[in-house]
């Protein structure tokens, strides 16, 4: 077992989640054999389909039993299992410093990302990390080695949030930079327009990536429960806003409602694996839910 010295990784959580596996919802094109479906037929034990024999096919793959029954030549094809490229895209804009009881959104994202990276590495998948600030703060392409995991974890531990968000650009860039199908896991508060999010997700989906989104929110952002005027200082460096929550509370709620409804629509239409999370939730529960949700259903 990898010797862990990163405080954001919890040994107990890792042990609890060790029984679960990270599955891709879409076929992956990996470099080595693995636990994930591949679009390419291979030699795994999992039957895929029958195909008519065409000259040039290896006669050893002919299904003689089918020939005996139908008097026709069929090639029996099996699924190919391959490994997974998991790209963790962590929003490191200033807004990720928003905290609940000392737990910043960035800390929460760090724990989820680190745990997923560890789980993926344990099952032989490649792990990469993209820190999305104004642009790419850090870019670690996915690789399978233990040393690479260590680099990813180190970077996760070291990353800090600041500045305006450049998540949209980073996602578009990521869609282009990751050459083959990969699992793109986005950890962000997504304080950008839902339509912009839609464009990013569409782009990633167009590039055949399996996309999962952890939308991190904090309770105070949802309720705006203050009883006196507040000076809200933009954590991403914008102009501060002086407002009385008792006065604008209703409008705030309405704006939030519209945003979430729009986001729901975007998620439904782009068919990404979306998880709306309040950062006061236990992240291990969130991860368990995430992993279980991705477990392929058995065919009866």
């Amino acid at each position: 077992m990898l010797q862990l010295k990163r405080d954001y990784l919890d040994q107990k959580v890792l042990e609890r989640l060790s029984t679960l596996q990270l599955h891709a919802r879409l076929p992956m094109i990996g470099s080595v054999s693995g636990k994930h479906r591949s679009p390419i037929r291979g030699s795994s034990l999992e039957f895929a389909e029958y195909r008519k024999y065409v000259p040039g096919d290896d006669p050893r793959r002919l299904d003689w039993r089918a020939y005996a029954r139908n008097d026709r030549y069929y090639i029996k094809e099996f699924e190919a299992d391959t490994n997974l490229r998991m790209c963790l895209v962590v929003d490191t804009s200033g807004s990720m410093n928003f905290a609940h009881d000392g737990m910043r959104k960035l800390d929460y994202a760090r724990r989820i990302a680190g745990t997923l990276a560890y789980i993926a590495a344990q099952q032989g998948d490649a792990v990469g990390l993209y820190c999305a600030g104004t642009g790419f703060h850090k870019e670690i392409p996915p690789k399978r080695s233990a040393a690479h995991l260590s680099a990813v974890l180190d970077e996760l531990g070291a990353m800090e949030a600041s500045g305006e968000t450049g998540l949209a650009n980073v996602l578009h860039e990521t869609a282009e930079r990751v050459p083959q199908r990969a699992l793109i896991i986005i950890l962000s508060d997504l304080f950008i327009e839902p339509e912009v999010v839609r464009n990013c997700l569409d782009h990633l989906r167009f590039r055949k990536h399996d996309v999962a989104v952890f939308h991190l929110l904090e309770q105070r952002e949802l309720a705006l429960e203050f009883d006196r005027p507040m000076r809200f200082v933009d954590m991403e460096g914008g102009e501060p806003i002086l407002a009385d929550p008792t006065v604008i509370g209703a409008q705030y709620q309405r704006a939030l409602e519209i945003y979430l409804e729009d986001m729901n629509t975007v998620i439904q239409e782009t068919e990404v694996d979306y998880h709306r999370i309040r950062i006061d939730e236990n992240y291990d529960d969130v991860l368990a839910r995430f992993l279980l949700g991705r477990t392929p259903k058995r065919h009866k």
């Binding site: 005027p229 000076r231 809200f232 954590m235 006065v247 409008q251 709620q253 709306r276």
Partner: protein
Amino acid sequence: MGFLQPFALIALPLIALPILIHLINQYRHRTIPWAAMMFLMRAKRMRKGMARLRHFLILLMRVLAVAALIFVVSRPLSGGWLGSIGMSKPDATLILLDRSVSMEMQDLQTGQSKRSAALKKLAELLEQGDYGTHLMLIDSASGQLQEVDSPKALLDIPIAGPSATSADIPGMLASTLAYLNANESGRVDVWICSDLNENDWDVESGRWQAIREEFAQLEGVHHFLMADADLPSSNLSIRVENVQRWERGNDAELVLDVIVRSKGNRGTRRQEVPIEFEVNNVRSVVEVELDQQGASLKGHRIPIDTKLRSGWGSVGLPGDANPLDNRFFFVFSESPVRRAIVVSDDVKNGEAFRRALAIPIDPRLQHQIDVISVDSAAEGASLNRIAGEWENTGLLIWQAALPRGPVAEQIAQFVDTGRVVMFFPPGSSQVSGKGNQSENERLFGSHWGAWQTPGSQQIFSTSWWRGDTDLLAHVESGDALPLNELRTYRYRSFESPGTPLARFNDDAPLLSRVATDRGAVYFCSTLPTAQFSSLEREGVIFYVILQRALGWGCQALSVASQRDAGPDVLADSSAWELVAPTDNSPLLSQRGLHAGVYRDGAYWTAVNRSQIEDSATAVPVETVDALFDGMSYRRIDVDVSDTSALASELWRIFLIAMIVALLAEAALSLPGKRTKTTLSMVPTT
């Protein structure tokens, strides 16, 4: 719209307080780092519509509430558009102004008298409000109803100025009733400005009941009493009595009694006060020691020039709270020979009258008594004989049947000139003068009845008499006249509209006085001789009442007379020349209402405030309030601090406005239903 406390309007800038608090609240914010700025910005954009208007309305309601509160405190008065809401406009306004001496009591800090303070306040109130088409003034001094041009004119017109008179508030209300009945006015405001002086209000008078009943029948009459019953911490008043000029050898002197009365608390320490005498432009000062009640100088002598047969003088005190009671004028002249005529049908009785009248109280006085028979008087012969002395006679004793014709007229004129007539019953059963006169022959509304004898009783005793005033008043030492010792064996009943001064035990009058404008008319039901009563034998009562009657009657003969200020005190005011005071001489129409000395040829008259003005106290406001039971009445203290009674008409409106504003503010401030965002925590894919 006007205000009783306009200074409260200084607080009007406080209406900016809610805005200020709002702004302060805005800057009292806490700073918080915030991530979800996009929702805040959207929320602020959304608030630009109705929400911003709502917020503005909340602020407006708060501002209105504060403004209404300030207006409540500033005591808005009826008038203008607001007045039309609170109270209907009067058709006429009547002002009943108490101009009595006590109303000149000053606030020593402001130097403003109660009268001027009340007038000033009243003028302000009326100026700010509506006083209708007629503004009428009834002043207590003249009792006349006069129209006033404007409320401000009240401060300048002489008929609203100070006077040395007393007031008759019930009489003024009766005049008001007469005006209202004559003019059939609609809504009328009656303003009474007074210091609630007991004498002026005469709360025990039976007139109040009638006034209440009459006012109760009138609709739309509202009474406002501007009362200032506060007494000064201390005040001194001075007056002079019994001024007499005597000659002793080659010297002449004035002998007079000076009385200084003290009101209020002067402390327990005795102090001296200087009294300034002025006679014939010669001034002298005498220091007297004051006790709690004041001080008196009995028989004070002032030497004068022998050639000064008549003249005037004054006594004065240093200035204090009431300047009008610090000086008292007096006049003097040689004492005239006191003449009396006794007309009697009985020699014995005539002689009894002569003896009682002939002996003067003071040996320096000269008495001359003429006794004539009734027959001679009826024929006019005797009266004609003494015609030369008739003008110098002070008392007429008529002990005979009531006269008629020219003699009755002559007697009426005698009384009209201020002299005294005493009627005693005719000794015979004859009830009227010569001839076949009717039993109903009357003089001064009175006529004799039949002789009454005690029957089983031995004598008639006197069961009741007035010892406080008039002929039967207590003597100077304070002792009562011994009327209880008077024995009456026979008396003659009489019918008279007069006021009884003494009654027998069977309730029949012994002595009665008939009301006359001047002079005095008395009816006595018994005779002095032993056959009828013990009047002559016991002497004291008989002597005192005759001497008093002679003295009062002879006062009219004197060329110098002391009178209480009043509208009719100088019959022809233009004939009288003002001698003193020389400064601030009153208008001709106001003469007689102010203290001073007037001269008409050889006659002198000193006009002063009445004695009761020096001693009267204020009636409790509760008692005054009770006088107006059943009438529309509000009492307003002249002190501006308590004008709630009047202001209530309008401050209620502002109070309601304030409550409405606060309720509206509360309703607008109610938080809307906050829609809880249903945040789905499960993936929607």
